[in-house]
């Protein structure tokens, strides 16, 4: 598999880029890859160029998905308890049979909980950060039907910042990655990713390589 990594790098590295250490970083990440981090994944997207290859696909650490699951389930249980209490109060005040309403409440709570769990999973699954040999893509899918899609050419990456905030990130060895692109105020950011320093290294190397390529092309023309 590391041959694939070498092949991908070689195909991207058509210039004499110096100090190109992304190969080792990618090989290291290949050994650590999981659902949150894929090296050379089998992924295609609209607008992909002919010579372009996806090098890394990154998602947030899975712990934060499980945390959202836990929050959803606890909230659903609390909602159910509060609503049962309200229905009982109403039932005590006015003499009406509440059996059907208890069942309806159970159905709604169960349905919405399943919906929230699936939506959390989909949001996590499609909260993607893709590094290809030409660009960086950031896809965010938020809950009920909203999505944002940000792209930046690698040669336009000016700064890659890694932040490690709080005890939880320190214990899980995850971090937030912020990318500053030329001529744009908006930042691309990916929160709670595994191996942020290796990813930072890879982005900086690819960015440097693309800038050298652009410089060479300019001189040749």
């Amino acid at each position: 598999m590391s041959d694939n990594v070498t092949e991908a790098i070689k195909s991207a590295q058509s210039s004499q880029a110096t100090g190109f250490s992304a190969l080792n970083a990618l090989k290291n990440l290949k050994q650590k890859q999981n659902k949150c981090l894929h090296v050379l994944p089998d992924v295609n997207f609209n607008g992909m160029e002919d010579n372009e290859k996806v090098v890394l696909l990154i998602r947030a650490n899975r712990f934060f998905l499980y945390l959202r699951f836990l929050v959803t389930i606890v909230t659903a249980i609390l909602f159910y308890i509060v609503m049962i209490f309200l229905l009982r109060t109403i039932g005590d005040a006015i003499d009406i049979p509440l059996g059907v309403y208890y069942f309806e409440l159970f159905l709604i709570t169960l349905g919405v909980t399943i919906f929230m769990l699936i939506t959390s999973f989909i949001s996590w699954y499609y909260d993607l950060f893709i590094i290809s040999t030409n660009r960086i893509l950031d896809l965010d899918v938020y809950g009920m039907g909203s999505a944002s899609w940000t792209t930046a050419r690698l040669e336009n990456i000016e700064d890659v910042e890694v932040k490690n905030k709080g005890l939880l990130q320190m214990l899980l060895k995850v971090g937030d990655l912020y990318l500053q692109t030329a001529g744009k105020e908006a930042k691309i950011e990916l929160k709670n990713i595994n191996h942020p320093l290796e990813v930072q290294d890879i982005i900086m190397d690819f960015s440097q390589m693309r800038r050298q390529q652009a410089g060479n092309n300019f001189r040749n023309n």
Binding site: I108, I114, M144
Partner: protein, 76 residues
């Protein structure tokens, strides 16, 4: 207001409340399904099938819950 009238009003409020909640839930599931289809067209993943199954199951469950709540509210 007599006890019978207040009981009728409370029942109506409960029925409308549950139908409203089920409707919001259904709309949310439909929107999520449509958005997912839209995102899926942008990407081509090997693992798309499992997420497709989840989103479709979500939509089916929401429709079933909505219909059940509507029927129960009419019957009650």
């Amino acid at each position: 207001m007599t006890a019978t009238t207040s009981a009728t009003v409370v029942k109506l409020v409960l029925k409308l409340g549950f139908i409203g909640m089920a409707l919001v839930y259904l709309i949310g599931a439909v929107m999520t399904y449509l958005r997912f289809q839209n995102v899926k067209q942008t990407f081509s993943f090997k693992e798309n099938k499992s997420t497709d199954l989840f989103v479709t199951a979500n939509l089916v469950i929401s429709v079933v819950v909505f219909v059940l709540i509507l029927l129960l509210s009419i019957i009650a």
